[in-house]
């Protein structure tokens, strides 16, 4: 579980806006490459738990600096040494009552709530046409791209799947 949490914080770091280098370490013995991708050349080898500074991200690759070399390694093969700051919870407290499991509502709200046709009609009126959505996207310089869905066979990590991966 500890390694999972570290991986999370690693991803947090890379999903956040750019900031200073983060201290991390290799989760296992792994090659440090001269560029992202499987065709890259090996700069050096990182030993398991070898410390690195994580100085950037390119897709799922991290730019990592060890004591004597700089290169690229997959995010999944690194862990952060420090624990990220916990994000603040929403400002207002719960309206009360215990939670039931219906997502986004409390049990009280669920039990007393009767179907609301007027709100349903309101939601239906909110629709935006595909044309208008396209104009809105292009206004923000969004360019659609061809991208295949991720297949499970592409999931195979180096060294195989961890124990329990397929326990659903």
């Amino acid at each position: 579980m500890g390694s999972r949490i570290s991986l999370l914080f690693l991803l947090v770091a890379f999903c956040m806006p750019a900031r200073g280098a983060d201290a991390g370490f290799a989760a296992k013995a792994v090659d440090l490459l001269d560029r992202p991708g499987s065709q890259a050349k090996v700069v050096t080898k990182l030993a398991k738990r070898q410390p690195v500074q994580i100085i950037g991200r390119d897709g799922s690759w991290a730019n990592a600096k060890s004591a004597n070399a700089t290169g690229w390694v997959r995010l999944a093969d690194l862990r952060l040494s420090v624990v990220a700051t916990k994000l603040p919870p929403p400002a207002r407290p719960s309206p009360g009552g215990k939670d039931t499991g219906i997502r986004g509502f409390s049990e009280d709200e669920l039990q007393v709530g009767a179907p609301n046709q007027a709100e349903g009609e309101k939601l239906r009126r909110l629709g935006v046409t595909a044309r208008d959505a396209g104009i809105f996207a292009r206004a923000a310089n969004l360019k659609p791209r061809q991208q295949d869905y991720i297949q499970m066979r592409e999931y195979m990590p180096e060294g195989g799947f961890p124990e329990g991966f397929f326990d659903e």
Binding site: R4, I5, L7, L8, F9, L11, V12, C15, M16, P36, D58, G59, S60, R74, L75, A76, K86, L87, P89, P90, R92, P93, D99, T100, G101, I102, R103, G104, F105, S106, L110, G113, P115, Q117, E119, L123, R124, L126, G127, V128, T129, A130, A133, F136, A137, A140, N141, L142, K143, P144, R145, Q146, Q147, D148, I150, E154, Y155, P162, F165, E168
Partner: protein, 287 residues
């Protein structure tokens, strides 16, 4: 049909429906079969709903969920989320569904989809997002639930949808709709309290990042949201429901991380400025 033949056909049907499912689910199916009028009615339930029927079921599910919490009164934000959502949905395999996106007035952190193309994000979730790529990631996950018909299949799998014939004798379209909504309320609450199968959630994550990428956004939006959720205390009152009905965010991320390698090399915008412009009021209102 003789009683013996009826039992044989029933067992065969249960094997078809519940191949790979637990004994408990199979028992529940058989109980439902007996209570719902037997094989003939069950065959009706096994029929694939048409798209029109799926949309009609979605109307009812959405109205039930909106009965628990209404929409947030912020027309600009609602239009914005619709514009982003419809753009994401256009990248899916079902662009022609009547997609509707809304933000409800709930502080709980969540988002959910219904059959037929309704997607509701909570105000609490919107407040945790930092840019449009993250919103796109959340909406992409929910759009995938719709395109894969996860909720529709879950309703049918539980033999809860005795719905396709609902209101057949009703005098008007309005009374037919009212009967359908009434019949749906219980199964809807049961399904959304229980949550989908974990495999459906993992699939929606895998598809959500790709839909985000297809729409031209940084595909790391959804992983970023999952890391936000994973950083919060899972015992937080606003998150207990999410954690009860979903795999833990860190587990979802662990599943997703190797697959993200297929999105390497994509340089795409996050649109933080536009997102903050439309969500500014949310943060002002909470002070």
């Amino acid at each position: 049909m003789s009683a013996t033949r009826c039992i044989i056909v029933s067992l065969a049907l249960s094997a078809l429906v519940f191949g790979g499912c637990s004994q408990q689910q199979a028992d529940a199916f058989m109980r439902n079969l007996n209570e719902s009028g037997g094989v003939k009615q069950t065959l009706t339930n096994l029929r694939e709903p048409t798209q029109a029927e799926e949309i009609e079921i979605g109307d009812g599910v959405a109205e039930t969920l909106l009965g628990a919490r209404p929409l947030l009164d912020d027309a600009d934000l609602q239009r914005y989320v619709n514009a982003v959502g419809v753009w994401i949905a256009q990248q899916s395999e079902r662009p022609d569904l009547p997609w509707h996106f809304g933000v409800n007035d709930s502080d709980h952190i969540n988002a959910f989809a219904t059959p037929g193309g309704y997607i509701i994000v909570t105000k609490g979730m919107m407040k945790q997002l930092r840019n449009e790529a993250e919103l796109a990631g959340v909406l992409g996950h929910e759009v995938a639930h719709v395109t894969q018909k996860h909720h529709l299949k879950a309703l049918r799998k539980s033999a809860l949808v005795n719905l396709l014939s609902a209101g057949a004798a009703a005098a008007t379209a309005e009374s037919r709709h009212a009967e359908l909504v009434q019949k749906l309320a219980g199964p809807t609450k049961e399904l959304y309290a229980r949550g989908l199968d974990k495999a459906d959630e993992f699939e929606a994550d895998r598809m959500g990042v790709v839909l985000t990428a297809r729409a031209g956004y940084d595909p790391y939006g959804l992983p970023a949201v999952l890391t936000t959720l994973a950083s919060a205390d899972p015992k937080d009152n606003f998150l207990t429901l999410l954690t009860k009905t979903h795999p833990l965010p860190q587990v979802r991320l662990d599943r997703l991380a190797p697959g993200l390698a297929t999105l390497d090399g994509i340089k795409a915008p996050q649109n933080a400025a536009r997102f903050q412009q439309y969500t500014k009021k949310l943060h002002v209102a909470s002070r």
